[in-house]
Amino acid sequence: MGTGEARGGETRSVAAGWLGRSSLVLAVLTLHAVAFAVAWLLDATTWYAVFALASAAALGYVASDGPFGAAAAALGAVLLVAVGLPLATFVARQEPSVVAEKALDPEVHRMLYLTVYAPLLAALVTLVFGTPLAYLLSRGFAGDSLVQSLVDLPLVVPHSVAGLLILFGFGQGAAFEFLPVLGTVPGMVLALTFVSAPFAVNVVREGFDAVDRRLEYAARIHGASRWETFRRVDLPLVKRAMLTGGVMAWARSVSEFGAVAVVAYNVEFFYPVAGETVTGQHAPVFIFNTYTSGSLPESSAVGFILLTMSVAIFLLVRWVAGDTSVGVGS
């Protein structure tokens, strides 16, 4: 009924339960880790890439019996290699002692806090204001393609230009004079919202596109106003899309250097751990500075910590989301 849901759930003749699955995953992971380690030590990561493609194809073949699975997995693995190989190389280059040292550095903690917090604000702002916009765009109105283009436009604005645009557009000498923009959390959030909003809006709009209008009729006829219909029917049905969009906006914000370096190089923010307002830097800026004033191993250790934290957050979010979206999909 409009949710792309297959009926008839899972039937597994051989009960490959959760345990079976996760031990399989573990085995595959270990195999890949070992293969990569060997390739790395032999200085032949190309061979690892080849191995990864082949193993993906094999797994695809076995898992969903046949050449289609193999081909899909192999093609997908090309992208995974393109993305994963640099990351794996990056991880392999880490010097554990430097990582450990940086992980204990309170300045790094402050940076991590800011890097989670400001993008989170930006993602929330984006979702709060972007979801109604996505809804309207999905339902269509006169001139919607112009608005859609306006929404998409920040995507193509070069990042440092984006920072300038925020500086020119807001705060003293521009709109909303009372709003301090330079070096403040609001300015940073504005910049992050500017660069990340299009992603969230687009994903959520796709979500609304997939909602069956008849469900809205059904809600209305049972007494729900448009707002209640939106709240109880449309919103829950795009929950997953909002989550994806929100995560993408958050992650996009975490990685933003250009705009932040112009608008909020040093940011004053309230740091609950210290219980006071401190000055800190967004992760990309911090990492860049560590690189400039320190060394590559140091800065990449910080980058590594950032990535680790992000993976943890991703897994957490999907886990929580998977738990709550029971019955609707997944």
């Binding site: 009924m1 759930g9 059904a218 809600a219 209305r220 006829i221 007494g223 729900a224 049905l237 609707v328």
Partner: protein
Amino acid sequence: MSLHAEIRARFTAPGAEPFVVDAALDADAGETLVVLGPSGSGKTLLLEAVAGFHSCEGRVAVDGRDVSDLPPEARNFGFVFQDYALFPHMTVAENVRFGERYLDDGAEVDARSLLDSLGVADLADRYPPTLSGGERQRVALARSLAVAPDAFLLDEPLSALDAPTRAALRGDLADTLADRTAVYVTHDRTTARALADRVAVMHDGQVVQHGTPDDVFERPASPFVARFTGSNVVAFDAADAGRGSDPVAIRPEHVALVAPGRGDVEGVVERAVREDAAFRVTVALDGPVGAVADGSGRDGDALAADRTLDAFAVDPPAPGDRVGVALPEERLARFDE
């Protein structure tokens, strides 16, 4: 609460001729109006327009009060969708309780007992996507019944159910609808006759006959209605003096099979099929007498007669038997035009 609706709307879709609905419905307070009509005649679109889902011309009046400008939620109708439209993210119980909070009197919805009365109590915690067709339909019905609206708009609410369940629910539904106004779309003539206080027959977006069940079934206004409601339509040869050449209608259950030579016309049994309770004998008529084309796109010259089995002295007639057919004059329906 009486319902009066006049709807004029034009629907367009890629690859389609525009479909025009131009129809009026009337149901007095407490009445059940059954809407009959071939597939694609616009029953669903009409119901949706009455509910306020499509902007259209015309007016919808409840107890004489014009509600055309009200949004669907303010019209206080119930609606059972032909394709259910259950909320996939809510459990069955949540679906049924959906409208609870919008009830004026703050009443509570007893989802369990409603589901129980429809025979699906054990589905309360399920999500719609894995329900069977008939289960979904009953949940949709329960959801609509829960809000106890002024008027029900029901689009084939029992079509996916097996016969015993349908029969039982039809009885329950008759009780529920007894003192409510309802517009009930169905293909099922049994349901139609069992529930209808009035019947409207639709064809090509228009209501072609609107009257009591007896009116519509026994006195069809046109050959189309006659055929559609199951009557035989017969046109006697003009040469056959005394009868006139206008087509007439007669219901199969009024056609008597008699010994050859003793009826009004005669012919050869073409088929004799058990149709659930009844036994349908189809007779290919001789000579100049023929059934007429009726606009349903199908014509022929065979006549159907329905009998229960023991109506036949010994064995029912078999294909190939020659029989006489009596068409009692008092059972013949003539068309106005």
